[in-house]
């Protein structure tokens, strides 16, 4: 009952926002259609298919790449793809089309988009000491994809509008499309931006931390790569380089405390590798290139 009430509220708020958007942006949206669609909320809330998930993720990845391009180093991009792809093999979704990219940005951050696109900024990479730290951060982002955190958040925020837009992707795909080469709806793009700007639920971040530590450990890395990065972040001043990361995630100190509580001494007996030398060499070479 509570859920129905909440969904209805979301729908009404969504409708209000939409009507406002049409007043300002001249978007031609049919309010009545939107409200009548509410009758089929349960039907519409059903899971989004994997091809749809991947298309949404490609669109969102394209938006992120609109803020900063990839670092122009084939060696570095290939290396990060190898590390990330290896990590993805330790998970329950090894066959997604996983892609990894280093964004050329001084901002310190990492991102995931649905269906397997993972990003890390060169700003964050430069503050790391080892491949295990890189693996920890990539694993945290991989966990967001595994648990479909962004899709759930978009569904929550966008309600019917989001699902209608997703349905239109599905139609396009039947026509042989996929994301490449076609325009995503303005609504879908603004919904994606909203999630990127606002961030996920705190519990999603804590869950990704817990899963990230496990995925990196499964791969044979030092379990404390991700905690070490959190410790590093905790020591940074709140400058513009970290403002988005800090405003969209729980404080690094809370994340460390939470991990400390659940990891306890459980990971002591795994003799994971930190892989410093290769990391250092790769980073230095790609910087010189």
């Amino acid at each position: 009952m509570k859920r129905t009430y909440w969904q209805l509220t979301t729908l009404l708020v969504g409708a209000l926002l939409t009507s406002q958007a049409s007043a300002f942006g001249g978007l031609n949206l049919d309010l009545n259609k939107l409200i009548s669609a509410g009758k089929n909320l349960n039907e519409a809330s059903k899971d989004i298919s994997e091809p749809e998930e991947i298309s949404i993720g490609e669109g969102m990845a394209s938006v992120l790449l609109g803020t900063a391009p990839l670092v122009k180093s084939d060696t570095l991009q290939t290396y990060v793809n190898q590390v990330g792809r290896y990590l993805s093999l330790q998970t329950e979704r090894p066959d997604l089309p996983w892609h990894f990219g280093v964004l050329d940005s001084d901002s310190v951050n990492a991102f995931a988009t649905p269906g397997g696109h993972i990003f890390i900024t060169s700003g964050l990479l430069r503050k790391m000491h080892s491949e295990a730290e890189l693996a920890g951060v990539l694993s945290h982002e991989i966990a967001h994809v595994l648990r479909k955190h962004h899709l759930v958040a978009m569904k929550k925020a966008g309600g019917m509008g989001f699902l209608t837009d997703v349905a239109s992707i599905a139609v396009d795909q039947k026509g042989g499309g996929g994301y490449a080469g076609k325009e995503l709806s303005k609504n879908l793009i603004s919904g994606m931006k909203e999630i990127l700007v606002r961030g996920l639920d705190k519990d999603d971040e804590y869950e990704a931390d817990r899963m990230g530590v496990v995925i990196a450990t499964r791969a044979g890395y030092d379990s404390y790569g991700l905690p070490a990065v959190l410790q590093m972040l905790d020591g940074l001043s709140n400058t513009s380089d970290v403002s988005l990361l800090f405003s969209t995630h729980p404080a690094p100190e809370s994340r460390m405390d939470t991990l400390s509580g659940v990891m306890q001494s459980k990971f002591d007996h795994y003799q994971g590798q930190s892989v410093n030398d290769r990391f250092r060499r790769l980073m230095t070479n790609s910087a010189k290139k």
């Binding site: 792809r85 892609h99 001084d106 817990r210 910087a287 290139k289």
Partner: protein
């Protein structure tokens, strides 16, 4: 020119490793003789003890406390810095990167003084970049290539179950079951 860059890099890496990094304990912490929970306890450091960081090994950090001999503490019981407002930057590999960046060795990592910022504003104003997405897809590697990288670093797979949030979440106020969370 190349030689000069190499010398600068070498000098820098030496100065980096020579720079002492400091931290403070965020809670009462046992200083252990070895990096194991059942190793002998040298002394119990109170919260807010200043230590110099020597190295990290897994979940343990070797430290030299101002008031005690060198030993090992749980890594997550340390906050970097002096407890005063955080210092700028980190001791990561960044400095190396920056030298090479600003050098005249024709690097292509970035064209400007700063890379682009990813902030709330730049995200809101971003237009999709399908060409760059295509480039990203071009870097994909096969499972076999990924496994090759792993084996060259002798990474071996471990069987580990996901961990639950449980009741030991610090924000819930519950005490962790193990004594480690308390020390």
């Amino acid at each position: 020119m190349k030689l000069l860059v190499a010398w600068v890099l070498l000098g820098l890496s030496i100065s980096l490793s020579a720079t002492a990094e400091t931290a403070v304990t965020n809670k009462e912490t046992e200083l252990k003789q070895e990096p194991f929970s059942d190793a002998a306890t040298l002394v119990t450091l109170p919260a807010q003890s200043s230590v110099e960081i020597l190295k990290r090994q897994g979940g343990w950090t070797q430290v030299k406390p101002a008031t005690a001999a060198t030993g090992w503490v749980r890594m997550l019981n340390l906050r970097l810095g002096t407890g005063a407002p955080a210092k700028q930057g980190g001791s990561g590999i960044g400095a190396l990167f920056n030298v090479a960046r600003s050098g005249s060795s024709g690097n292509t990592v970035t064209t400007g003084v700063r890379g682009l910022d990813i902030t709330k504003d730049t995200l809101q104003n971003a237009s999709p970049n399908p060409n760059e997405l295509k480039r990203m897809h071009g870097y994909s590697v096969s499972k076999a290539e990924a496994l090759k990288l792993a084996s060259s670093a002798k990474l071996s797979k471990q069987s580990v179950e996901y961990i639950e949030a449980g009741s030991s979440r610090s924000s819930s106020g519950a005490k962790p079951a193990s004594s480690w969370g308390d020390n």
